[in-house]
């Protein structure tokens, strides 16, 4: 990085503009360079777009998860929402083979919003910790979907529904990339709006936010709803390129949270940017791709992933706590 030689003031400015996401941008850059070195053809448009396409569901999930995490909560139910969405779509198509894809997609997004709404209301009104709320929602959704399908999801998704996940616009631009860009842009716009600031303020200090007139409950509920919608959108993409499976969304919740935290967003809320969170998702996907290309056995993949996640977050935590201490002398943060 060029900041090594820069003066203190420039250094501070660069750091501030990058926010707490600096480590993840560095990590992403390193991974992308390594990918280029490992595989000469990686940056050919087709290959690179295919990479972005594969990353799209995780990026969308990370954007949704960011909204929830930055206001101080967790959403563990997104993986189950993805699974439930894919299986439910297949089941509906089994009963109504001719259903228009737009209707089904809209229905899924609405269902995702509903699940998010429930998460939000239970967390804010009933004051159940979101870890437990969304864990319960995960059990409920997975149980319900399998109960409905009798244990083994069957049915098929028709071509036009899968278009969003596997098709291309204009013959070269995958729809998944378009969806990813759109969701990313929406997330950035949202975080720059008043609502975004409200959300960060809520996560930073609920009491201060409430005293300044923020309806903290409403902000949190909306964050959960948006996370649910993001998960449903991810379900449409996942259903598009990998088809119907009971494992469709398994593990996505942890990957999304990992991506967000990798992006320097602090669990507990109030700090971090949505772009960095999405960069975290890209980093994870780049890491998986790199490990694949390097011929690391699938088994060891998760070990490397674990080490890198711990290391990246550890490095991030070490640097930024020192910086923060320099700026404000005592900030006795408590762990989650």
């Amino acid at each position: 990085m060029t900041t090594a030689t820069a003066t203190g003031a420039t250094y501070q400015r660069v750091v501030r503009s990058l926010g707490t996401g600096a480590p993840v941008y560095a990590l992403l850059a390193v991974l992308l360079v390594l990918l280029a070195v490992t595989d000469i053809g990686f940056y050919e448009p087709d290959r690179f777009l295919a990479f972005v396409k594969r990353a799209a569901p995780l990026v969308i999930l990370a954007a949704g998860q960011y909204l929830v995490i930055v206001c101080g909560e967790f959403d563990l139910s997104v993986g189950a929402i993805v699974t439930a969405g894919v299986v439910a779509a297949a089941e509906v198509y089994g009963s109504f083979p001719g259903a228009p894809w737009l209707l089904i997609t809209a229905g899924l997004l609405l269902a995702g919003a509903l699940a998010g709404l429930l998460n939000g209301l239970i967390t804010t009104w009933l004051r159940v910790p979101s870890f437990i709320t969304t864990l319960g929602m995960m059990l409920i959704l997975e149980g319900a979907v399998f109960y409905w399908t009798g244990g083994s999801p069957h049915g098929q998704l028709p071509q036009d529904f899968r278009q969003l996940g596997r098709g291309t616009a204009l013959g070269w631009l995958p729809w998944a990339v378009v969806a990813c860009l759109a969701a990313g842009a929406l997330a950035v716009l949202l975080m720059r709006s008043d609502f975004g600031r409200t959300l960060v303020a809520t996560g930073d200090s609920e009491r201060t936010a409430a005293l300044s007139g923020v309806r903290v409950h409403r902000a949190r509920v909306i964050a959960f709803v948006l996370s649910g919608v993001a998960a449903a959108l991810a379900a449409v993409l996942v259903g598009g390129f990998s088809g119907v499976s009971a494992q469709a969304g398994r593990g996505y919740e942890f990957e999304a949270i990992t991506a967000v935290v990798l992006g320097g967003v602090v669990l507990g809320g109030g700090r971090g940017s949505v772009v960095a969170a999405m960069a975290g998702a890209f980093s994870l996907q780049a890491l998986f791709t790199l490990l694949n290309l390097r011929g690391v056995s699938g088994a060891l993949e998760s070990t490397v992933q674990g080490v890198i996640v711990i290391a990246a977050v550890g490095i991030g935590a070490a640097d930024w706590s020192r910086l923060r201490r320099r700026r404000t002398h005592s900030s006795g943060g408590t762990p989650t």
Binding site: L126, I132, L135, L139, F146, V261, G306, V309, V313, T334
Partner: protein, 334 residues
């Protein structure tokens, strides 16, 4: 709450406080709930012409408590400090594999020591990553889980090793009507209860979870406390792995993940009234939480409820129970 490190404020009359703490103590509530669920299950099963409270059934329920109970008791220690452990599921799987493969070549004692050493090492690593590297416990233990998963998937493709017959007694033998393994759980739980409630270290656990900053300022070595809690938790998980190995007769890569011991144990702990943020709760409540889950499971089995529907009800019960605590907690002046 009685017995925590924090002394009651002097303005509150002790008798009033004592009375209120008994009623508001979630540990009492969850055992009452366990009794209620049992009674309800008995009525429902009886209405269908079955008999719920047979000796065989009760023994079965208790036996089903053991593995989750051991993990949840360990998880309690970690959660009390405000941390948590998501690596337990893969640690169980690895523990059963190490136990079974070691037992094949060496003796039982070597195997037990190997599993406990492995567990202690993983717990130590978790604790040091959380306190030393300042990685959030959620991510730190998730990372450890991934590392363990890679280790398992790289070295084992399926069930491996064989558990000696003498060690399988732990899984199947009974003393009178009670399974031996239940005594293992009770011993571990009693030990942890003594540690949390009757030792200085235990009070440090509560103090660290209650307010880490204040605890540190009062001279508690909070980092050391968190590390020790992680080691304790992993040792309990090691015990669970030994029990499951004895039960299964060999090591299994899916032993811990299939039953989702990571999330289930956290659910049981929270069901038992321990605050996820740390500082409140205890082992007694956790055992109650485990019992409620086991009784529910048994009732559903007796009624022949669809196994997937069980998950739905389980999710609803967990959310509802915790919502009840939150509601009751809010009425108390704080």
């Amino acid at each position: 709450m009685t017995g925590t490190a924090v002394a009651p404020p002097p303005t509150v009359k002790p008798s009033v406080r004592h009375h209120r703490s008994r009623l508001a103590d979630p540990a009492v509530g969850i055992w009452l709930a366990a009794a209620a669920v049992t009674a309800l299950g008995w009525i429902v099963v009886a209405a269908r012409g079955g008999d719920f409270l047979t000796l065989a059934n009760i023994v079965g329920i208790l036996q089903n408590c053991v593995a989750l109970g051991l993990v949840a008791v360990g998880q309690t220690a970690v959660i009390l400090t405000g941390s948590l452990d998501l690596s337990v599921a893969y640690l169980i799987s690895l523990g059963t594999l190490v136990a079974a493969t070691t037992m094949e070549d060496g003796g039982v004692v070597t195997a037990v020591l190997a599993v406990l050493a492995l567990s202690a090492a993983v717990g130590l690593a978790n604790g040091l990553i959380v306190t030393g590297l300042k990685v959030n416990a959620f991510i730190a233990t998730l990372g450890t889980a991934f590392i363990l998963r890679g280790w398992i998937e790289d070295n084992y493709t399926g069930p491996a090793g064989k558990v000696t017959v003498s060690f399988q007694h732990l899984g199947y033998d009974r003393i009178g009507p009670f399974p031996v393994s239940l005594f293992l759980l009770l011993a571990v739980a009693a030990a942890l209860w003594l540690i949390t409630r009757r030792t200085r270290f235990g009070h440090h656990l509560y103090a660290t979870g209650g307010d880490e900053h204040a605890a540190r300022l009062s001279g508690v070595r909070t980092r050391r406390t968190v590390v020790a809690a992680h080691v304790l938790c992993s040792l309990c998980v090691g015990a669970a792995a030994l029990f499951l190995a004895a039960r299964l007769g060999s090591g299994a890569p899916w032993a811990g993940t299939e039953a989702r011991y990571d999330l289930e144990s956290i659910a049981a702990v929270v069901l038992g009234g321990t605050a996820l943020a740390g500082g409140r709760g205890g082992v007694v409540g956790t055992l109650g939480g485990v019992l409620v889950l086991a009784v529910l499971d048994s009732v559903f089995n007796q009624l022949g409820v669809d196994p997937f529907f069980k998950n739905v009800v389980r999710g609803v019960v967990i959310i509802a129970a915790v919502a009840l605590y939150a509601r009751r907690g809010s009425r108390r002046p704080t």
